[in-house]
């Protein structure tokens, strides 16, 4: 579904992503793990066009077939193609209400469909209770739910999540990962960026390890979780 081929990304002179290649097949959960500053967020931003690669290609197979080079698609046109990106730090619209945030999630669809709202409220009952509340007054966990709910409003085929567990209590982390597993079961393809390697590798079909802008390891979730190196570097021994 998504094939990232040898991309190089720069911030001015900083070479943030170096010849990175990876693939996400339809129906998979693929994890991208790595330490702070490894280039995970940059990789996602490159896929959704918020920053452009100097070289390399990003091919995506949209629903209607064919191959789309995402490096040439305007960022605001991605979501209509089935790519939804839950950015690092949630980036919900703090001064808008919960409901308005969800409406923005369905922006490419025009008016949000009732079933979609019900679907999101079904997954996150907390959001329904607070739908008239301004998003800035939500707790951190609720904000994460809103960010995910907002992305779901567009019916993504490929859902990209950037550190959904950041800053959440262990119970909430479990909850968020349960929801990711559910989404996976219902057929959504997921690209998951995580610092929390343990949780990410548990849920991932396959995973890639990024280190200072390069892919240094790849394998199935179970393989990497069992690897000596990974245990040392990311799983605390």
């Amino acid at each position: 579904m998504l094939k990232v081929d040898n991309i190089n990304v720069y911030y001015d002179k900083i070479h943030a992503i170096k010849d990175v290649s990876f693939e996400v097949n339809a129906g998979e959960v693929v994890a991208l793990i790595g330490a702070n500053g490894a280039g995970k967020t940059t990789t996602l931003h490159t896929i959704t066009g918020l920053i452009r690669p100097e070289s390399g290609s990003i091919s995506y197979t949209p629903e209607d077939g064919g191959i789309l080079d995402l490096a040439r698609v305007a960022p605001h046109k991605m979501v209509a193609r089935g790519l939804a990106h839950v950015p690092e730090g949630r980036r919900i619209f703090l001064q808008m209400t919960v409901l308005e945030n969800l409406e923005m999630g369905a922006f490419c669809k025009g008016k949000p469909a009732k079933e979609d709202l019900e679907n999101v409220f079904g997954r996150f009952p907390r959001l329904e209770e607070r739908k008239k509340q301004v998003a800035g007054t939500l707790s951190g966990g609720e904000q994460q739910m809103l960010a995910m709910g907002r992305a779901l409003m567009s019916h993504p085929r490929l859902l990209m999540l950037d550190e959904p567990s950041m800053g959440l209590s262990p119970i909430l982390v479990e909850q968020i990962f349960d929801i990711i597993a559910e989404l996976h079961k219902s057929g959504t393809t997921i690209l998951l960026v995580e610092q929390n390697a343990e949780m990410a590798l548990q849920i991932a079909d396959r995973a890639y390890v990024l280190e200072s802008g390069r892919v240094v390891m790849e394998g199935s979730g179970a393989e990497l979780a069992a690897s000596e190196e990974i245990r040392k570097a990311y799983l605390g021994g």
Binding site: L50, H76, H85, P87, F93, L94, E103, F107, L138, M166
Partner: protein
Amino acid sequence: MALFLLYPINITLRRGTRWKRGKRGAGSVRGFAPYAESGGGAPGQPEAKLEVVSLSLVNNLINGVSLGSVYAIIALGYTMVYGIAKMLNFAHGDVIMVGAYICFFICSDFGMSPILGILAAVLVCTLLGVLIEQLAYKPLRQVTSLAVLITAIGVSYFLQNAAQLMWTSNPRIFPAIFGSGGIQLIGDLTIPYKTLVTIGACLVIMAGLILFTGKTRTGKAMRACSEDKDAAQLMGINVNRTISITFAIGSALAAVAGVLLCSAYPKLIPTTGSMPGIKAFTAAVFGGIGSIPGAFLGGILLGVIEIFSSAYLSTELANAIVFLVLIVILLVKPTGLLGKKVSEKV
């Protein structure tokens, strides 16, 4: 002192014309004084004096709200553009001037109906605003905000100079497109039509903008862009288009403000828009920049403070007093009257 100031106000009231602010120079207040001989509220008649005091107070208040409405309409344009493009469009005031000239030519030179004049002004200013945004500001979107600010000042001078070239700096006297009459309220108190139109237009515009940003899809997209452009793009919102729409709305409002301003203060020259532009910017900051009700409140208060300080304190110092009040308020509430601080949760 107070009595001396009351003469001209009383006189102009009786003649049904508005007392002009210190626009024509400090002498204007004194200039009217000789007519006081024939007026009713002469010194030494205590009862008449009282009536004059309250009448002039009401009249000043109306004038203040009317001037404030013009400021508010301009400030709404400032605040929307700032809120979404995060830039201070210092050329906004000069778009007002262009709007006023367009309306002037349509109504005075071609003798067409004022409605056509206003429509033409709105159309030209909308196009001008979008053109300025596309040519001057859009290429600089990724650059520092200082560069954009300097560009905006450049655009402002460009418009003024272009107007001077095309239309010379000879003052044009803006026609009384809303008629010279008014509605008589009680006794001597008449509200001119132009004042009613100004205040009414301001209320309608503000209500319209609140509904637009609160209820429509495009309006909500605007608010999303004003908070986080990247996140808005991820939602499928075309940020460039949204910014253009904002400039179009702001510039259309500038055209309306230009017509209303020149209806109240008919001397039209290429720099006509610059001082009201700066005052309206101040009003927007005062009310809380980025906030629509804030721009409205800031504009009205600014107009009222300005008229009251020139009526009761000093015509010469009116502007200084206005800014003094603003500075004090901003010291107490740095985000402006209705500006809010957003706390982010990480």
